[in-house]
């Protein structure tokens, strides 16, 4: 049996370019989203979701803890669902998800668009999209 030398370099020798950073960000933001969704679901259960909501409502709240998502639910204390804490949680989830999602679109586009011009266009479109969707999303969350 032949032994092969390990081919992985330590991070300091590999360097950290933008693509490497975004690769890591995609994984870490996924973990952050699991944490935020779990936090929202636990929060809903603490606020009485077991007696006031069905599973679909809890999931809708879990994926985005915005009070608009539980407007149609007969809640005992609707104000508790629109506090500063939940607006901040929803904003964090929105910003992380937008960055994760737009970078995902760039990764997919790069697999099919190979010309230099096309890729440059995709980069600029993604920058426009990430800024506009973040701003519009946060606006909707804080005005609804």
């Amino acid at each position: 049996m032949t032994t092969t030398k390990p081919r992985t370099l330590p991070l300091s020798k590999r360097g950290l370019n933008f693509e490497m950073f975004m690769w890591l960000f995609t994984r870490l933001s996924a973990l952050a989203m699991y944490a935020l969704i779990l936090f929202a679901i636990i929060g809903a259960l603490v606020m009485g979701a077991r007696y006031q909501m069905n599973l679909a409502d809890v999931l809708r709240w879990g994926f985005m803890p915005n009070s608009g998502h539980v407007q149609s639910v007969p809640l005992e204390n609707p104000d508790a669902w629109a506090t500063l804490l939940w607006r901040l949680t929803a904003s964090a989830l929105l910003l992380v998800a937008t960055a994760h999602g737009v970078h995902g679109l760039v990764v997919i586009a790069d697999d099919y668009i190979v010309s230099r011009r096309g890729r440059l266009t995709v980069r600029w479109l993604s920058i426009v999209m990430i800024i506009s969707m973040s701003v519009i999303g946060v606006y909707v969350l804080w005005t609804s």
């Binding site: 994984r27 996924a30 679909a56 999602g101 737009v102 995902g104 997919i108 999303g137």
Partner: protein, 123 residues
């Protein structure tokens, strides 16, 4: 700079990547589906009015809900596997077993969700 792959579309479709390839393709479809849905949803809440209502009608349709729940659930479960394997590369040897576990978790949850969506739509 342009890439040349020397692989025709037909050859690409015949490529048998098996289980891992299937999860790769479904992960992509799921991510794209959610990106389109979330963009539509945010724009609908922002614009309101007739445009918002017509966008709402699309994603309140039960067919769209079956599709988008597939996207969200598969992307979430498969994404957890990708994250764990990538952050702890030693786990890569268990990749195929992990994919079987993934389906064992995904299929019952998705089946219940589809049942609930259809029975709600049916009244």
């Amino acid at each position: 700079m342009s890439l040349k792959r020397n692989v025709s579309l037909a050859a690409g479709l015949r490529y048998r990547g098996q289980g891992p390839m299937l999860t790769f393709v479904l992960h992509r479809i799921g991510g794209l589906g959610m990106a389109i849905f979330v963009t539509m949803h945010i724009l609908a809440s922002f614009l309101g009015g007739d445009i918002g209502k017509s966008l709402n009608d699309i994603y309140q349709n039960w067919l769209f809900q079956i599709f988008i729940f597939f996207c969200a659930l598969f992307h979430a479960i498969n994404g957890l596997r990708i994250t764990l394997v990538d952050l702890f590369p030693k786990l890569l040897v268990h990749q195929r077993e992990a994919i079987w576990v993934e389906w064992a978790v995904f299929l019952p949850i998705y089946a219940i969700a589809v049942f609930v969506i259809i029975s709600t739509a049916g009244g």
